[in-house]
């Protein structure tokens, strides 16, 4: 554990493969806690964790809250769709105010990219990025990696397809960083409007931009489907949900192109019948619910590592 010495977890971009592996190893040990009858260990007793959510979220917020509680930390949730920043408070004010309450960790989600980094510069507390705009969602990528490890036994050398709205997706970015750092071959595909060619500059190696989603799915070990946002229609990224599902949705037919033992992931919440067909989402290849379980373990590991564990 000596090798994880960061104040914050702002993204995967800056992590080394070694650091990623440490988080995953620690997460593995915490998985067991959630399977006990008494789902609680005293590891983070006396630590305070603030969950600061500026964007609606059920899954991630609950997951962080449970992770804190199962480690016996005190968790406070601040959920607000209309941020107090709107009332004239600056990022700096907010960081200083929260800092004055001396929390150990602030978990932050915000619709604007960079807010966790801005907070981290102004705050003594550890900042965990729980999703910032289109930038990163590191714990999602970590839990995806854990899911893949558990079911494939490795990440190196696997072909992973990521399908959909790559442009606006923080999940896609964090996954691209993480999976390529660990040696996977990542293939991204979706409507041309949502998969800009410039993405090829995102990482030095391991990323392919496919002109057709079928090419990305072909012989894939892992197929990751991203949520498509309705609002993108209004911005002329694609015409209708109907057309999207026909041309870009993950159907049973398309999934047949992947390896026979391929697994299907989705960060949720799903638009059933749009980016993913219900029979795929509920099918034997789908690990969507397992992802949620791993998410808890990963978040416990992150909180544990950032607070310095048991000293």
């Amino acid at each position: 554990m000596d090798k994880f010495r960061r104040k914050d977890l702002l993204g995967i971009k800056d992590l080394s493969a070694e650091e990623i592996k440490i988080i995953l190893q620690v997460a593995e040990t915490f998985r067991e806690v959630s399977r006990r009858d008494v789902k609680k260990v005293p590891t983070l007793r006396g630590k305070t964790i603030i969950n600061l959510f500026f964007e609606p979220s059920t899954r991630t917020r609950t997951s962080f809250e449970l992770a804190a509680k199962r480690l016996s930390a005190d968790a406070v949730n601040i959920s607000t769709s209309t941020s107090s920043l709107a009332k004239g408070e600056t990022i700096l004010d907010m960081a200083k105010n929260l800092d004055a309450m001396a929390p150990h960790v602030i978990v932050v989600r915000h619709s604007s990219a960079g807010v966790p980094s801005q907070l981290a510069k102004a705050s003594r507390a550890s900042i965990v990025n729980a999703g910032d705009g289109s930038n990163e969602h590191p714990t999602q990528a970590l839990l995806d990696a854990m899911t893949i490890y558990e079911h494939k036994g490795r990440i190196e050398g696997l072909k992973v397809a990521i399908l959909g709205d790559i442009l606006h997706s923080r999940v896609a970015r964090s996954n691209i960083y993480l999976l390529t750092k660990l040696g996977a071959e990542v293939h991204v595909a979706g409507p041309n409007t949502l998969v800009p060619q410039d993405f090829q500059h995102l990482v030095k190696k391991g990323l392919t931009i496919c002109p057709k989603i079928e090419l990305a799915i072909q012989d894939a070990d892992v197929v990751m489907v991203l949520r498509i946002q309705k609002e993108r229609m209004n911005e002329a990224f694609f015409p209708t949900m109907r057309e999207y599902s026909i041309h870009y949705g993950l159907t049973k037919e398309r999934l047949k192109l992947a390896k026979s033992d391929a697994i299907v992931l989705h960060p949720g919440p799903m638009n059933r019948g749009v980016e993913i067909a219900s029979d795929v989402a509920d099918g034997s290849s789908s690990l969507i619910l397992n992802q949620v379980e791993y998410g808890l373990a990963v978040r416990m590991a992150v909180l544990y590592l950032l607070t310095g564990g048991e000293d």
Partner: protein
């Protein structure tokens, strides 16, 4: 009152002058150039400029002074103080105040406030359309009579090509240059930085180079149709430069300026989400910066203008998405020109003076400025090319602090600024 600038090296590109001369000022005008072996006239105050460059006063074609309406960001007085500390004897202020400078009364108010501050010459730029809403023409003739030197709708560029055509045709009647901030907002909507590798890496919405280029090409075509004088503000992309190059080949009256940050920084500076790297047009990629340097070198870019855009810290310390566009620039322009252009060999000192003074005076037709020929107004910028200094924003004369250049070290800087024969700034 007589002032003799003694022992300096006089650079006046308009007069093809580039050698040691003493400059005699009398009653706010340049009286004569004297050879340095001539005896010193009697009854003169002496300004010792030994080892320094004596240049016609620098003119900034593009500043935002925020008064009236946003005096918490800047006032005409504080902006003028920053200007003279940065070596600018004249500043041309954009009309995006509150209310917009779209009528003679506001124009007169700005000029009066400039006079009251008594530092730099303040030349207002009037709006092209009423309230800069892009629909009806503002009273350019009346504003011209009151003292505007150009027209522009600045950050709210006229989107309608038909209106822009009429504006150019009409502005011609009053010999007013039409300044355009080129941005097709249908392409830039929601964007906060240059669209490219870094916008993808940072998850921020991009502004494509095309947004600037499409408007630049439109303006060049309109300049050809109307014969108007068109000046492209803060040019930042390869394609927009190509548009200006094309216009110049065709002999059109099209000019352009570049802001120091666009010849200094690239979009990689946004990494870290410092909102002082957010401006419009945005910091571009390496490819565009190289095109900018090439165009400075070959003369396609006529002038350096700061786009000094003060914003209060409370506004800048927001999410990158919500923070306003713009940085202050009056005090760092000369230092950056030395660092990025002169010391790197892109241009020499003569061309630097041309870009800061000779050409700006010509572009806005500022009579008696941009040269130190005898009879000209005694606006003088005195520079020490060896001066080593550090920009510390805590000491800025501007009301705002929004700069990415705090703590930067420079070689070459402003020693004194003389406006109308009066020393209004002298470095301690």
């Amino acid at each position: 009152m007589r002032l003799l600038i003694l022992g300096g090296h006089l650079i006046d590109p308009a007069e093809r002058q580039n050698s040691g001369k003493n400059v005699l000022i009398e009653d706010g005008k340049i009286k004569a150039w004297l050879n340095q072996d001539e005896p010193i006239p009697e009854d003169v105050e002496i300004f010792d400029a030994t080892g320094m460059i004596v240049a016609p006063g620098f003119i900034d074609l593009h500043v935002h002074l925020r008064e009236p309406g946003q005096e918490h960001k800047e006032t005409i007085a504080t902006g003028s103080a920053a200007a003279v500390a940065g070596g600018f004897t004249s500043i041309c202020c954009m009309p995006n105040t509150n209310p917009v400078n779209d009528n003679a009364a506001i124009t007169r108010f700005i000029i009066e406030q400039g006079n009251r501050a008594g530092l730099a010459n303040v030349f207002p730029i009037g709006a092209i359309t009423k309230k800069s809403e892009g629909t009806e023409l503002a009273e350019m003739g009346e504003m011209k009579s009151a003292g505007i030197v150009a027209v522009s709708d600045d950050g709210r560029p006229v989107p309608n090509a038909g209106i822009m055509r009429r504006a150019m045709e009409y502005a011609k009647d009053f010999d007013l240059t039409v300044v355009d901030h080129c941005e097709d907002k249908s392409l830039s909507v929601g964007g906060v930085m240059h669209e490219g590798k870094w916008s993808l890496l940072l998850g921020l919405k991009g502004i494509p180079a095309l947004a600037e280029e499409l408007d630049a090409f439109r303006d060049v075509l309109l300049a050809e149709l109307t014969g108007a004088k068109v000046h492209i503000a803060h040019i930042s992309t390869k394609g927009a430069i190509e548009a200006v190059r094309l216009a110049k080949q065709k002999g059109l009256k099209v000019t352009c300026e570049v802001a120091p940050h666009h010849f200094t920084l690239t979009d990689s500076a946004v990494n870290g989400y410092n909102t002082n790297t957010k401006m419009s047009p945005p910091l571009r990629s390496e490819e565009h910066l190289e095109a900018v340097l090439e165009a400075i070198k070959d003369g396609t870019i006529d002038a350096i203008a700061t786009d000094h855009a003060p914003h209060h810290p409370d506004e800048k310390n927001l999410e990158f998405d919500r923070a306003p566009f713009g940085i202050i620039g009056l005090e760092t322009a000369v230092g950056l020109a030395f660092k990025q252009l002169v010391h790197t060999g892109v241009i020499d000192l003569v061309r630097m003076v041309e870009m800061f003074s000779t050409n700006p005076a010509r572009i806005f037709n500022l009579q008696g400025r941009g040269t130190l020929r005898p009879g000209a107004i005694a606006d003088v910028t005195i520079i020490d090319p060896d001066l080593e200094w550090t920009y510390n924003v805590e000491n800025t004369r501007s009301k705002s602090r929004n700069t990415p250049f705090d703590g930067w070290k420079f070689q070459g800087g402003v020693v004194a600024t003389i406006v109308g024969g009066k020393v209004v700034y002298h470095r301690e």
